[in-house]
Symmetry: C2
Subunit: 469 residues, 2 copies
């Protein structure tokens, strides 16, 4: 495990708050070791720092009351959704109360005529899409995991569909939130756009729970397209695949998804999902449009792919074939783990301008090889975003050190290419030093905002900014 | 004129700062009455509050030095672009220094392969699009006026293309800004997306210069579509036109523009632009896509229009006809003024959920009629955003009072329909009370952010938040 910095604990305050909340919430406040551990960090290699108690509110008013109680005693509050984040966002380095929002799981309204809906933060993206399907609507953001919508907003999530539909920042019309003093606010209304004051919604989106707890989201929806088709194409080199992506985006083909798998990932997918893809760099695509539009997009992409030496191009609009392909893509984490049974998977995340993507991916493959690390790569390459899944024997200190070197090197390289140290995973505990490298003086103003809105630093302390001085 | 609140002046500080800046900038600091007045509010009915001097920097470092000088003496700094804003954004209620950014007008880089560019804030949208045309690229945001890109970001501008391409908040990748203490920051990099820390770009976009001065913008670009076609269609009633819009959006037709003109606006356009459109509610549309895609979109819209009693449907893909139609749309302000020569045009701005649009527009027409006001309406109706241009005799106190009543009534109604008091014009001096009505407690946190980043309140004081207590 990688050590996470512990922060001073307010023992007396924590004890008092647990007593007060126990009175109020009864069995909806839990302090068992198992539940507490489940609400600390449980993914990747950052050590688990469990909260002291977990509370399960049902209403915004209850969240407000919890925060007010914690604020009165200066006890940390850590918002919790599905716990799928990868950089230690849900850890409790100073202890405190985890606020598990998963019982606030109602779809409050669907306004089909306005293409929006209002949901509680514990609704997952799959639950929402199941709810919407009969009305011919869907919510496009898909970060892979079946995450909660509150958590997705808090971490500015994106994923495979972002190339067409944007990220959470583009798909939230308005938020309701409980601020660090317990006040309930709304950041906006249901209008599709507004110039009314500072954009507090965009400030809370990606703030990782450090400025407030999201208690309700008004989301922009899409009509389910008339036609959806998929395609895959193999390429001789990483460079050829990335150039085909760049040309596709420049041509303005409105691809809904354009995903990259490197050789090693294709091997893993073949073995795990029973496929027989050529074991060279692969692109998987999805097209949304009218019947003729989706076909036209696939054809145009096919021509581009050919120009760059693409082979085994196959397009399909049958649901079964399409699902098989995308299931394999969604299962990549598990497929890659099978490349080295017993290893831990450490998922990294960087994003670079698309013109630098080929170079960045190629050098990353070389660096992993030089260090002797097993590191299959997948990417949401239409945005220049890719992940390496390091397969690490955590008992081998030398290997862990090499993996840390690799992650540092990769973040530095992405920043040197005018990219970012995180396209979608966020900063949490794991990337604070890279945030400073990336944005320098700007982080001081982030810290000033944090201090203004949360002067006692009770909202998810130790995340994003604790290294800013 | 409508009175704007004056704020206490720091006479000694202003005098000192003008002396210091005169030394440094010579003729690039101007204090003549004509230039000062030109840099106060010159549109609509808010009175002009001129700055004490206007300075014309050429570099970010010069902007930083100006702000540092003003900060040292607690003198207001008012950023200035083309001065086209409508709610008093550029007024100087406490005096101070207007920083005219129009000489920072260079396109610094175009990254065609990444579909982005880097510009100084004084580049106008027309200048940028002229610069980009040869490369087959364009920047889609079009607020009507040939505004500066820095000003467009500062006011979160949008306009006719927003229904497809979003607003300024969606099309800025990153900003460079001079903060209230004079520090230069960058909010992000050139990656298409990022989860690295608080979204300072989105905080500065729409902050109307109250949190810092934008000195450089990295903008997302689009490829010029293969095909562009236009259509127009007349409708028997406002309700029918609005329902056709709603259905078009629900169908997912990716219209690039869908603009509404009410009967009175059509009359004005016919007279001013020599057209012979039926004088009933009108929709003007533009479609972007492949050759077949643009045709398909127009056909699908034609079918929808027919369902709602649309008549005189005419689609065209010839550039000349298209330009004539859109020129007429762009000239609406001048066309409407001709409905009552000598009157002043007061442009209002609200935005509601599209399901409420028909009701909102109809009631607004009725209210204007009840008050005896001449008030043609146009709207970016795909977003639920519309404007009424009140034609007012400013010498007639009773009429001015009725116009004020109308504006207040309209803002209240938009808010009561879950809409916003401003879709794109911003708050400035004119809409502060409506901002509070719309967002309530949230404005306190806006004020806390303002106080944290600009404790001396030197950045464009008296805008957005001065009524928040």
């Amino acid at each position: 495990m990688v050590q996470a910095t512990a922060l001073p604990r307010n023992e007396a305050g924590i004890e008092t708050v647990i007593g007060v909340l126990k009175q109020r919430f009864g069995d909806r406040l839990q302090t068992s070791a198992a539940i507490r551990e489940q609400h600390g960090h449980t993914t990747t290699w950052i050590e688990n720092q469990s909260p002291d108690a977990v509370v399960f509110p049902h209403t915004t008013q209850e969240v407000s009351d919890i925060v007010k109680t914690c604020a009165a005693h200066r006890v940390p509050v850590i918002p919790f959704g599905t716990g799928t984040s990868l950089e230690g966002h849900v850890n409790a380095p100073a202890g405190g109360i985890s606020v598990d929002l998963m019982q606030m799981d109602k779809v409050l309204a669907v306004h089909a005529e306005d293409l929006d809906c209002v949901v509680q933060p514990g609704v997952t993206r799959e639950a929402l899409n199941t709810h919407l399907r009969d009305q011919g609507l869907f919510f496009p953001i898909d970060p892979g995991a079946n995450a909660s919508l509150g958590g997705m907003a808090a971490t500015r999530a994106s994923g495979t569909n972002a190339v067409r539909y944007g990220t959470m920042k583009d798909n939230v019309l308005s938020l309701e939130a409980v601020m660090p003093d317990g006040q309930i606010i709304r950041t906006g209304r249901r209008a599709k756009k507004s110039s009314a004051g500072y954009d507090l919604a965009r400030l809370l989106i990606g703030a990782e729970g450090t400025l407030g707890i999201i208690t309700e989201l008004t989301l922009r929806l899409q009509g389910i397209p008339e036609a959806i088709s998929s395609a895959r194409c193999s390429f001789p080199t990483v460079d050829a695949a990335c150039r085909a992506v760049m040309m596709t985006i420049q041509y303005g083909i409105p691809v809904a998804r354009i995903e990259f798998l490197d050789e090693m990932s294709v091997q893993a997918a073949n073995a795990y999902s029973g496929l027989s893809l050529p074991e060279t760099p692969l692109l998987l695509l999805e097209f949304h449009g009218s019947e003729s539009g989706a076909v036209e997009q696939a054809e145009t992409f096919g021509q581009i792919a050919e120009e760059f030496g693409g082979t085994d191009f196959a397009a399909t609009s049958t649901t079964e074939e399409r699902n098989k392909l995308w299931q394999a893509r969604h299962d990549m984490y598990w497929a890659c783990l099978q490349l080295r049974p017993g290893a831990r998977g450490i998922s990294t995340d960087v994003c670079v301008p698309i013109s630098r993507l080929a170079e960045c991916v190629t050098e990353t493959q070389q660096k992993a090889a030089d260090l002797g690390l097993l590191a299959p790569m997948v990417g949401h390459v239409g945005d220049g975003n890719f992940h390496t899944l390091l397969l690490i024997d955590m008992e081998n200190a030398d290997e862990v050190a090499k993996a840390e070197e690799f992650v540092g090197w990769l973040n530095d390289m992405a920043i040197s290419m005018e990219g970012t140290c995180t396209g979608e995973h966020g900063i949490g505990q794991g990337k604070q030093l890279y945030l400073i490298k990336e944005l320098g003086a700007a982080t001081k103003y982030m810290a000033a905002i944090k201090a203004a809105l949360d002067p006692e630093n009770i909202m998810n302390p130790g995340k994003i900014l604790s290294d800013v001085t």
